[in-house]
Amino acid sequence: MKTKLKNGSIILFLLLGLTSIITAQTNAKANKDTENWRYEIEAVGVGVQGTYLVKVWSYSKKPEVAIEQAKKNAVHGIIFRGFAGKQGIPGQRALTSNVNLEQEKAEFFKPFFGNGGKYMKFVSITNDGSIAAGDRLKVDKEYKIGVIVSVNVSALRNDLEEAGIIKGLSSGF
């Protein structure tokens, strides 16, 4: 009886450990995709004052991971990539024109974009808790999920300026 209990506990711990490893690996893959800029960002509407309303398409084998990653990708995209406009909706340039900034300021951006990092302060999901039918696509063996988010660009820009990561708009004067 004791042996059975001991064996059962070992199996349970192994399973839990395996699940954690798989989840961590999935999240790590998603983070790698973000670092490699493997997401798409498009304009959706004109946000209220100081915000951008964008749709972020993220990739993952697990749709739930893609949804979470959307917030991170949105902030990453606003800082480093910008997005094109479409009819009636203006596009926006990236907050920085320095394509190497993420590597140069790695000690800032690593915790900033870490799980539960500061990026979460500047972004919110703008839907009713559901994914629209046309925003969940299966592409080969993974999922491409589109999530509409609102990014508080004013606050984000201020934060990056105060941290000395980017120059202020008035720094040329």
Partner: protein, 591 residues
């Protein structure tokens, strides 16, 4: 020189080939349609009664109401080749009235966005509202302008209104040419109405909209008298989409002493005629709704435990309405394709018949077969007729009279009953017997030959059943049922020879009714079903049946005197109440 150019060419081609193509997209957005109902000129007072009643009903809730003041279509004297063009011209002339309704044209000929904005706000779902709140522009008004392209016209033609007397006359006239003609029993009174519906759609795409705004737009701030004057000649493209024809009856027994009048009041002929109209409207919307893509509700899976979606009374959802659930897959060419993953039916309907706030409750669904479903999958209405046909075999070892080849037909009544999965049906089993001993059977007045019996048995009952699900995927279901009907033996031979026919009181040679034995029976079953696809399921139905009151075709009770007879055919309990068990296996097809 040539080499670099060639390399550049290769790189360009390679880039073009590997660039992400945006191919064919799946339409996932449901835009609330609007409806205008028009009519052919009525030919008589009865048609006018039907039309006036239909006008009074208004449009079904899933549509915005685009009722206009427009004359009837006069189809009199038109040939078959002339009709379509004349109808199209009639509908095209209505297009400007429909647009005038959308843009709230006032007495001065000016338009405004009041109706468009109001309808856009009503059509918006929770996601639209949340996004609009985060947006600087009025997105909801934009939704309203998209709705204009979903404006439909249903043109009704009442082909024929016949009284039941006229229907009986027609039936007798058709049957008179057959040698065994018997006049039809004229038991009922009422009406039979045959009608057709022609569906058209307003084309308000970007090009047409551009013409409208450029040539005709005038508003209170920028009144343009020239544009107002040109409106009288305005016409916008109307596309013919589909048509559908149906026949409906509304009848009641003629005999005022009929038992049905113990529970229902006898109606006037006018009341019977008016009773047809709501069904005419419902059937037209449902049948055309199955054929026209814009009228099929679309929504995404909101949650999976339980399965729910943000759709409800606003979309005229009804109990057990069928939805197919799809995953959208993107192929190598960048084309999107729908791949069906499951089937679900409406279980509980949310009242969303109001402007969305971002916190609307969803309706609940029951998955009925398929694979695991996920949030964000596309749900699309795919209505069926509510009819199921089963074919199989019943085994009733204790009373083989109740076994044999089995056919059943049932019809879902969840809508009128407001109970999910409820259906009424007709079940029929047929078996054959050869050279059996039925014992020593008599009636109160005579003995009957009971040996060397051959013929067939039957069991026919009406039943009520309820389909119940207890798992998320709904591959397995339970379907208990209870029914009542007649079972019987129709002997064709006794003592190994054909049973002689007899002469009845009218001098006709007929079957000997003493050898048609029937009983009353009540089957109770619990079906276990497996959904193989939206169309097919396999069902295994163990159950019991109670049988009693066996009698001949001359209504004389049967008495069994013997103790020796062929077992398992129910001969032992001809004069008793008996209980026997059975198991039925059948393949069920849903339509």
């Amino acid at each position: 020189m040539k080499k670099p150019i060639f390399i550049i060419f290769l790189l360009t081609v390679s880039a073009l080939l590997t660039a992400q193509n945006v191919g064919k997209l799946v339409d996932t957005k449901y835009l609330r349609p609007s409806l205008t109902v028009l009519f052919f000129q009525p030919k008589n007072a009865q048609e006018e009664t039907i039309i006036n009643k239909m006008k009074g009903l208004g449009v079904v809730n899933k549509f915005d109401d685009n009722t206009i003041d427009y004359p009837y279509f006069n189809g009199n004297g038109l040939t078959i080749t002339e009709r379509p063009n004349k109808m199209k011209s009639y509908i095209s002339n209505a297009s400007k009235l429909i647009l005038a309704k959308w843009w709230n044209r006032d007495a001065n000929g000016d338009f405004n966005t009041e109706i468009v904005a109001k309808r856009g706000g009503f059509a918006a779902n929770d996601a639209d509202v949340v996004q609009a709140n985060a947006s600087n522009t009025n997105r909801l008004e934009m939704i309203g302008s998209e709705l204009i392209d979903k404006s439909y016209v249903f043109l009704y033609e009442i082909n024929q209104v016949l009284t039941m007397e006229q229907v009986y006359d027609k039936t007798d006239a058709t049957n008179k040419k057959y040698s065994n003609y018997v006049p039809v029993k004229r038991e009922n009174e009422g009406y039979e109405v045959t009608y057709s519906v022609y569906a058209y759609k307003l084309n308000f795409n970007d090009s047409v909209a551009s013409i409208f705004y450029t040539k005709y737009w005038s508003d209170a701030k920028n009144h343009d008298a020239k544009k107002v004057a040109s409106w009288s000649n305005a016409s916008f493209p109307m596309i013919y989409v589909k048509n559908w024809s149906g026949t409906l009856k509304s009848t009641q027994p003629k005999d005022p002493k009929s038992s049905i009048y113990l529970v229902k009041k006898k109606k006037t002929m006018n009341e019977l005629l008016l009773d047809i109209v709501p069904s005419m409207q419902t059937n037209s919307v449902e049948e055309l709704g199955m054929k026209i893509e814009d009228l099929k509700a679309k929504v995404s899976v909101y949650k999976t435990k339980p399965l729910s979606a943000k759709i409800g009374t606003k979309e005229s959802l009804y109990r057990d309405q069928r939805f197919f659930v799809y995953e959208i897959e993107v192929d190598k060419s960048g084309n999107q394709n729908k791949v069906r993953k499951g089937v679900a039916r409406v279980k509980q309907i949310a009242d969303n018949n109001k402007v969305a706030t971002g916190e609307t409750s969803p309706s609940l669904f029951q998955q009925q077969g398929g694979k695991k479903l996920y949030e964000g999958m596309l749900m699309e209405s795919n209505e069926d007729q509510g009819v199921a046909v089963g074919i199989g075999f019943a085994s009733s070892p204790q009373n083989m009279q109740l076994g044999g080849l089995n056919l059943n037909l049932d019809y879902r009544i969840s809508r009128p009953s407001k109970i999910n999965g409820l259906a009424v049906g007709l079940d029929c089993s047929l078996n054959f017997m050869s050279n059996l001993s039925a014992g020593n059977v008599s009636t109160g007045t005579m003995g009957l030959n009971s040996t060397g019996m051959s013929g067939m048995t039957y069991a026919l009952d009406l039943y009520i059943a309820k389909e119940m699900y207890f798992t998320q995927k709904g591959i397995v279901y339970l379907r208990p049922s209870i029914g009542g009907g007649l079972s019987g033996y129709r002997f064709s031979k006794y003592n190994g020879v054909d049973i002689p026919k007899v002469t009845d009181a009218n001098g006709n040679v007929v079957e000997n009714k003493n050898y048609n034995w029937s009983s009353i029976f009540f089957p109770i079953n619990i079906g276990i079903g497996f959904n193989l696809s939206p169309l097919i399921s396999i069902e295994i139905k163990p159950g019991v049946a109670f049988r009693f009151a066996s009698s001949t075709g001359n209504n004389e009770s049967l008495i069994q005197h013997a103790t020796l007879y062929d077992p398992n055919w129910g001969f032992d309990s001809l004069d008793k109440i008996s209980m026997s068990n059975s198991i039925l296996c059948n393949l069920r097809f849903r339509f």
